[in-house]
Point group: C5
Chain length 355, copies 5
């Protein structure tokens, strides 16, 4: 299935800002919520049926991570928004999966939109999924389009109390989630790089029209992926420089690390784009080369045989008065002439390095 | 009808700045004015015949939205300008439909020029229409070239008192109008995206000269649309950062949202441009590929038959002394030789992967 | 006459800075001076023979506009420079018509260099002419290469006391002169746009080598025009932000208007450049398409007739023992075979969509 | 062996930041450590087996340079990190050889990552190796992937007490190490330049498909090298402007020198890229030229002989009633006609400058 | 002789910064020194054999210009460096002719590196020569690779006491020297422009492979010249804004003039680059056009004669039973058919506008 260039958001035209309308393709049937609540010592993991269960965690001093899989249900989103005092425009953005990555600061929370990049198992296509994060004082809410295991490792680290994560507060959790997403870019781009290298091999050995279409396909993917990832750099940079009390100084050194990674990812994407462009050049010049080769073969055959055919044509004429025809050595002489002509021609092409 | 690259503004050459001359194509016969006057509780909608009717609203505390459809009539514009104390250069700009989007701050009003993008129903062409907005303390004046329903939804929201609009002041109305225009960009670009995807399909399956001309056509559209939309980002950004008392703090968060949208629109346009460029490459390489195929067919036929034709030519010669002609097995032998030659050639092309 | 890429300024090499040497092509025989002296109530227009006549106006409180047509005469320039206390480097720049647009601030005057763009009547070529302006407290001196009527409308406005011009001081006059030059760009670019559109039509209907040379010609023009106009934006911007007492606040709003125009002009030039580039692509792909068509015709004819010619060649052989030749139905059979071959081939090309 | 576009770092996905995992290709069996300890008067060089030996130098006032060859052993890295109080994220970066060049400031040390560029002796390929430097108050720790002699000259200067190096502190040592790396870029780029010039020669004399593939290969190398070196400029610039007490003022003038060199190196790489692009153009147009030449030869032969073959075909017909066949001068007349046709054709091609 | 892309500086690898090694091609046998010492009233010109002679001028209040031709002799450079207290890194840079233009400020002198561009008389190639300037309080030291007459005019002005130069101090002398170098760029670029225009003429009239190679050659030159001149703008700009006491305010207005010139030179180089790129396009499309023309000729001949040759082939067959052969009007009928076929074909090509 070909990815669409744009998601249909036209149904939003004419609505007041803040109206909750899902923009995107619905990927799960019902939204499900998972809550992890932890501090250094305690850890609880629940899958609450109702929202009220979530809210009990809000007041404690522990860090609460509420993960929502499935964002097409405006009622759930609206309820969460109301419970945590989130601005209506933020809720609108969460439900619109056609957003650029961005960060917005509010008085008591930060709102971050990111794009998750993964390779779908069935179609082997690259797919972008929108992730929204809300970082509050002692809670983090994450919204995904469907359950993905990108955050699985973070969950494991919390469960296993490995690393700093259980000892740190909500901003470190957000940092860990972003880190998981960005790390995932690397593994996807690695696979992309492998594909490009295979294509490169094909192209240098035996370029064909399928290869050209693949180059086009990858260039198009790169344009779309780049559009989705490019603003990420700014998001991380803003997060790193924010004056908000929500991001602690000791977390910022980890954000610097992520920032380095995003810069690196943009570098990789740019390199891929340039390499793909060069590959197109190679393809075009190979086609030209081949046409040259074809033309040479045609020309060699034509140039050698056309004069010979003319010569035999001459002695196929039916004039009564053609003295050569009666000569005893006429026929062998014609053969001699033809051999000389052929040798001359072959020599000519040899000198031109065509043979 | 092909769009002109530039509008004829040469009639303005030599005139003093501030002279009111309509630049553009007149789209309606007579200018019509609609006035919506509202606050939280009250709402009036009139279509005044004279300007004086409008002015009665100016002094009240309610918010007044005066919408002018048709801007070719310099007398009306001049009268409005005089009534609301608007600078002569602003009036000139309103009547000149060849303006870039821009914002200008004056002591007691802000002046904004925007481009509305829509698809004309008859010609299926993309058309740009200029919209000028004047934001005063308790009034908004909007000037359109012809009545369009882009603002219809805003009007409905006012009438229906839905959303925040009736509770907010004139700056929120301006925000709503800009939002309507920007939302409309998305729906137009969506249709553009659909067309590009159809063209892409054609191109990968069966590229032809019409497809190439379409690519060119879209590239040209993109150049012109981009020129018209590009400055919008700066306009919104200026509006967002303005120190003017006319734009309230609570409105700025909505402007931030619009700003995000404009950035996204520019991203989309850039992606489209890049994709169209890549499509041109595909087209060119497909043509080359085809030529290659044509040449191969010609070469295969020529290379196989030219030697054969030469051979039969040889035995068409009329020499009296050609011993082969008298051999009993001469004719079958020639056939044998010709079959060997053909098999050799076919084998050669097989080895070259041409067959 | 082809425009030169560069003007010969090599005669300046080795001279001390400030040496007055005319660089350019002399366009008038003798320099002529026109003086307009005016305030709200009075107006005088003279064409003084000597410079001393000019100087009488210098002391009055009226605004004086001294316009010099022809700048090749270093004595006149030097005399004016001395009379008005103008720096030697400024005088040098005035006489060197190969300058970039620029603005320089001095204690008691501003020096501005601009490029006038017009279409020469005889050759229909775009030509650039340098205009230097000196803005003093109550005087403006303008230097042109030859008398042009671009400033004619400004002169008329002064004579007719129309608009604000007679009520304003020297900075408004400079603003009016720059505005006249910039407005003129629009009308020249309009004509350029018309030419590009005609060329576009040609290109899409019947591209030929002349069209390609025209594209090249326009691209080259655009490169040179852009080089000449690009710095203008900065000039106007500097003028607008200057702290000099010479530019009054009420004039700056008019400069903002001109600044918008220069930005728009650069936009137009960039669009033209991009459109011309796309047109070149179209041209190249059309040539390829045509070659394809030519090759197809050749291939169709060759592929159909080459086997037929071979067949008739076979039965043109003179072997004594060729049984087919004696068959009663031999000749019709050969025709039958040939018709079958032809139908097969035509069918093949039909299936390939070549016919 | 083709270089991979990306190093496999996917094994890091899901791990907590700060986990030590080696990313890259292991180049030595066991890590080895060399310690140089010196001041103006004393000098010691040891190859300690255990880390504790290193630490004895840490407290003295002499400058200590600890060089670690081989970074795949996480235990060693961890031990060093602990001994010198280095942040866990820094250790992680040291072991991940897929880093961009960067600089990070900590309270009591600076951390610098650079790329060493060298030409491998066996494969003649350009290879990038990561070097990490830690600049402390009186020590420098350098980490290399394998022992290279790039730092050999610095070691020699320390041993021989030549230049300022023995009199200066640790920051000067870091400066010397960076200088050695940057100087090495020049020598590698020189060899690259030589190869490009040889390729250029080939291309202008006798372009072939191998040359095209070489151009592609070099363009690809340049893309990857540029990606690795580009951030270096910023690293040096940050180092030069740092307010850290670790970099003394008298060292900064040497850093300015290195900064100039990095700018120059980027200039060189850009020039190479542009030249390689132009070379591709040359290659493409040469192929086209050649095809033209091939086609001309074919056309000349075909156009001359096709009419002649037709003529002799005419008189090969077997009509009973062909009066020309019985004419005494028929045969010579046909020859005459054929000679006239040939001369006409040759003349035609001469006039077209094809012969 | 082809210019090398890079100068061999690899011999510097591994040396301590500040080591004096000549990098470049030695252009004179022995270095020679010329000293001009002047103030408003006095003037001395000497060619001292020993350095000590120079030093006598150092203490006076007059301005001293020491010009060194030939920079390969490290002893002389070292001696001058010691006498005038110049930093070791500066001396190193003076001897390394592969520097970018740059400016460095020291406490009591400024150090400037520039590139002189000239056309060598023998080879008509553009050559870059490095010039280093040291501006001290009352002295200027200039280092050239070999004696060139670019500074001749400045020398003449000092000798002849013409212009301001004798009345001004050392900074004005440096300004005059830079001005001489920059003015020289104009004259070299003028000659370049002439060559490009001649090439353009060739290209539009009769493009050939030599023209293509010339385009490539000029593009390459432009890349290298641009690399050498580009940083100049920054150098002049820094000089203009320096706070150093060495550059007096009254000199800065002259530097502004030079700054304008450098901007103009970069504009010219960019225009040349763009024009050369467009020329390459023209060349490529002309080749395609020509191939089209060649193919058309081939196709016309083939398509007309192939059917005719087939027809005459038919009646060259030797079937016993071919009734047409015995018809009295058989032969003329065949001619009739062939004439009809020919006319049809010619008509077809006429309709296609090929004839």
């Amino acid at each position: 299935m070909k990815k669409r260039l744009l998601k249909k958001r036209s149904k939003k035209v004419g609505l007041a800002p803040g109206t909750l309308i899902f923009v995107g393709r619905q990927k799960v049937d019902t939204a499900s919520i998972t809550v992890l609540d932890y501090d250094k010592k305690t850890f609880t993991e629940t899958q609450p049926k109702t929202l009220d269960e979530c809210l009990t965690y809000k007041k404690g001093k522990t860090t609460t991570w509420i993960n929502v899989d499935g964002i097409h249900d405006s009622e759930t989103i609206q309820a969460i928004g109301k419970a945590f005092g989130i601005h209506q425009l933020v809720l609108e953005d969460i439900m619109n999966t056609d957003q650029r990555p961005k960060i917005e600061e509010f008085n008591n929370y930060l709102f971050i939109i990111l794009k998750m990049l993964y390779i779908s198992e069935e179609s082997q296509e690259f797919t972008l999924e929108q992730v929204s994060l809300i970082l509050g004082d002692n809670y983090v809410i994450s919204f995904q389009e469907k359950p993905e295991d990108t955050f699985g490792a973070v969950r494991e680290r919390i469960r296993g109390a490995s690393g700093r994560i259980r000892e740190s507060s909500s901003d470190y959790l957000v940092n860990a989630l972003i880190d998981a997403i960005v790390d995932n870019y690397f593994s996807v781009l690695e696979r992309f790089g492998d594909k490009i290298e295979i294509l490169e091999e094909t192209l240098l050995k035996d370029p064909n029209e399928a290869a050209m279409k693949e180059i086009y396909h990858y260039k198009r993917e790169m344009i779309l992926i780049r559009k989705a990832i490019w603003p990420l750099r700014e998001v991380i940079s803003t997060l790193q420089k924010t004056g908000s009390f929500l991001v602690r100084e000791e977390t910022k050194i980890y954000l610097r690390d992520i920032h380095d990674h995003t810069v690196q990812i943009m570098d990789i994407i740019e390199s891929f784009r340039e390499i793909l462009s060069s590959m197109m050049d190679i393809y075009l010049s190979t086609i030209s080369n081949r046409m040259n080769a074809v033309m040479k073969i045609l020309t060699i055959f034509a140039v050698i045989f056309i004069p010979l055919t003319f010569i035999v044509g001459v002695y196929g004429m039916n004039f009564e008065n053609m003295p050569e025809l009666k000569w005893a050595w006429g026929y062998p002489t014609v053969w001699g002439v033809m051999i000389v002509v052929t040798i001359t021609m072959v020599g000519y092409f040899k000198r031109k390095n065509w043979l």
